[in-house]
């Protein structure tokens, strides 16, 4: 089969099993779009801004575990996509982003819509390529998918100059079935000696705790984690990215840890004697003050990325390997082990954990006649049976989802954890809805974040994506306001979102259903109505208490044991 560069590119995507492509056309990718026009296997979702394309591909990847694919034009197309690429990079999301480039003879001449895409994206990709010869295109595509999806996943950018896709230059097409690279060999299994050592240590522990991260979700290790934790009766806490890696409604789950984690999770971290970190990277939002981090604990760290180990916190037993394999091996070793866990010590530890849990740190006051944002999320959890795909933006509402919408399954929680990208939620929800058209997908957002990619409401109408947008509208950039209240004597500098659009009319203008709810007694009815409308996008403007803060909170420079609890919740 002889194909042009553009034909090769489209055929490679098909051969790679790609079903959806999120993109936006432009001059440098015209040949590719012409090939897309000539076929109907590969579905193209036309977004309204390139950032939306990359976030949608990202959301698709998070909700399926398959690589997301985006196609952007050169210059501003590529630069608009950079925030999306950086978002995926920070959260280790497998993605291939194809960018057009000016024709090779023009590279470096400051041509129209030329930027150094390779240079701009280099610090925020797992790898990137510039294809200068059409004969290298198929192999580069294979390499890109291999790199993006193996090892610690991440985004790969392929920059394709326009002349490489020239329809008049055809060459024989061959897509390699697999690829070997001498410079890239991700670890396939953990070291059995280290695994044995780790199990010995856990069996000798009196106060163990599992600290689970996004690697458990992206590494498909949720079942193995659940198996091991249940077998050994280990308490589990999770990072923001790891939510869903262990069932959130299970008694052994302590809730999220870190800056806005639960009291029981953070106290368990501080007092544990053995910490089992799995697919997590000791991020500063998790550790708090590093000097006070798990002061009495021996630390086991399982991670596919050796560079994550002992980066921020020294660990005692590192295990480099895929979490799925390592956890499965650990369970085997545990079952065959001559030693038993110290049941008495564990029982004591659990009674301490229950004491901390009884503080009920997520309690909030329902007084004041306004809808509490926490109540709205809890109600949504009830109505959706905790089973919806939830995409969030960034800020207070994001933390409240993490606290009040316990996820029982992996891949249902789509949030920008590492980069903290406002504007992520709506396009990510689109990606999830494209992947799972028959499932409920809700974007929980704030009045700041939603306006950062609101143009994607048009994409939802164009491709009939009846997802739900639940806007927790407090009229503030709430998280910034909260910090200004706490640390800047309530000097609210530029956090009031005045001149808000009428979100009902806005939703309607885009062809959707717009609704608003302001009174607590109407909340349940409004949410039920929103979820009952199956065939249309519903945008629900939930007007919430503007003064609400996210608690508990570890203030900057404090340790896990120095949490600030909500005024509604007092230590007995």
């Amino acid at each position: 089969m002889e194909l042009s560069g553009a034909g090769i590119l489209v055929q490679c995507l098909k051969d790679e099993g790609v079903e959806y492509l999120f993109g936006y056309p432009g001059g440098a990718v015209l040949h590719i779009y012409d090939e897309i026009f000539k076929q109907d296997e590969l579905r193209h979702i036309l977004v309204r801004h390139e950032q939306g394309a990359v976030h949608a591909a990202d959301g698709y990847a998070r909700a399926t575990g398959k690589p997301g694919v985006a196609l952007l034009t050169s210059g501003p197309g590529a630069t608009n996509g950079v925030t999306g690429v950086a978002t995926a990079y920070c959260d280790s999301i497998p993605m291939v982003v194809l960018t057009g480039q000016v024709p090779t003879p023009f590279i470096g001449s400051d041509a129209f819509q030329e930027v150094d895409t390779l240079g701009i994206t280099r610090p925020c990709v797992k790898h990137n390529f510039l294809v200068k010869d059409v004969r290298d295109l198929a192999e580069t595509m294979k390499k890109a998918f291999y790199i993006a999806t193996s090892g610690r996943p991440g985004p790969v950018v392929i920059d394709v100059p326009k002349d490489v896709t020239d329809p008049n230059i055809k060459i024989p097409y061959h897509y390699p079935k697999s690829i070997k690279m001498r410079s890239y060999n991700p670890v396939k299994r953990g070291h059995s000696g280290q695994i044995k050592k780790a199990v010995d240590l856990i069996l000798s522990a009196e106060r163990p705790v599992i600290y689970s991260g996004g690697g458990v979700v992206t590494g498909d290790g949720a079942a193995e984690l659940t198996g091991l934790a249940r077998e050994m009766k280990l308490p589990v806490t999770s990072t923001l990215m790891g939510l869903g890696g262990y069932p959130g409604t299970d008694r052994q789950f302590l809730g999220m840890l870190g800056m806005h984690g639960t009291y029981e999770a953070n106290m368990a971290m501080h007092d544990c004697d053995v910490l089992i970190a799995i697919g997590a990277r000791f991020d500063d939002r998790v550790t708090g003050k590093v000097k006070d981090f798990c002061p009495d604990a021996k630390i086991i760290h399982i991670d596919i990325d050796p560079a994550s180990i002992s980066k921020n916190v020294r660990v005692d037993i590192p295990i480099v390997g895929p979490v799925k394999h390592v956890l499965a091996e650990m369970l085997k070793v545990v079952r065959a082990h001559k030693n038993q866990p110290d049941r008495e010590a564990l029982a004591q530890w659990w009674s301490q954990l229950e004491k901390w849990r009884s503080v009920d740190c997520l309690k909030y006051s329902s007084k004041g006649g306004r809808i509490k944002p926490q109540a709205a999320i809890e109600m949504l959890h009830k109505i959706t049976n905790g089973d919806a795909y939830i995409a969030s933006d960034v800020g207070q509402h994001q933390m409240w989802v993490a606290q009040y919408y316990p996820f029982d399954k992996p891949q249902h929680w789509l949030t920008s954890g590492g980069l903290g990208t406002m504007g992520f939620g709506l396009p990510a929800a689109m990606g999830a809805k494209v992947a799972h058209p028959d499932r409920e997908v809700v974007c929980i957002t704030g009045d700041g974040s939603i306006q950062m990619n609101i143009q994607e409401l048009a994409t939802c109408q164009h491709f009939n994506l009846p997802l739900k947008v639940m806007l927790l509208n407090n009229g503030y950039l709430g998280m910034v306001r909260q910090w200004q209240e706490f640390f800047y004597d309530s000097r609210y500098s530029e956090v009031t979102v005045e001149a808000q659009p009428d979100f009902i009319k806005l939703a309607q203008a885009y062809g959707h259903v717009g609704m608003r709810v302001e009174r607590p007694e109407e909340l349940e009815g409004a949410l039920r109505k929103m979820m009952e409308i199956k065939d249309r996008l519903v945008f629900l403007d939930v007007v919430v208490d503007p003064g609400e803060n996210v608690y508990p909170m570890i203030m900057a420079g404090k340790g896990h044991h120095e949490m600030q609890l909500s005024p509604d919740c007092e230590l007995s």
Binding site: L130, R182, S183, P306
Partner: protein, 163 residues
């Protein structure tokens, strides 16, 4: 502490900027960096000199390993190794200085490779300390310009950093 790291990498466009970008993005310092293709033209060998405590050096080597184009690397400072750097230095050579500079070059086993009636170009190889010592020995007013390659390094013994 000073560390000298040897890196074997794919000889591809952009590989060097990935290494340089990694160092600037993560705030590591590069004292010197030299790179050229090896006997296998698809591979480049880089020698990089950096400073940092044990933890930083561990992170540097791990992060370098993570770059897709890096095939192998070794921290030469961990074992016995040889370092050589080359310097080209242009000095004034007039009057009494002419003979004095020539004598110094002989003592340091350098070579004079270009001569005018008032200047020499001297080629000198050695470890960094030796080149530093030569520069110190020549009166600083006599130095017109200095070009140094930065050190290249190789481990002693039969084992090599190869595929």
């Amino acid at each position: 502490m000073r560390h000298i790291i040897s890196i074997l990498m794919e000889n591809e466009a952009g590989a060097l900027s990935r290494v340089a970008g990694l160092f600037s993005a993560r705030g590591y310092n590069i004292e010197s960096l030299t790179v050229a293709p090896t006997e296998d033209p698809t591979l480049s060998r880089m020698t990089l000199v950096t400073r940092g405590n044990e933890e930083i050096i561990e992170q540097i080597t791990k992060q370098l390993h993570k770059l897709i184009e890096v095939v192998k690397l070794a921290d030469l400072s961990e074992g016995v190794h040889i370092e050589r750097e080359m310097m080209l230095i242009k000095v004034q050579a007039k009057g009494s200085h002419r003979e004095e500079v020539k004598r110094l070059v002989d003592i340091f086993r350098g070579r004079i490779i270009d001569v005018t009636d008032s200047s020499y170009i001297i080629e000198m190889t050695g470890n960094c300390d030796k080149l530093d010592a030569f520069i110190k020995a020549v009166h600083k007013d006599l130095i017109i310009e200095t070009v140094r390659t930065g050190p290249s390094g190789i481990a002693r013994g039969t084992k090599g950093l190869s595929l």
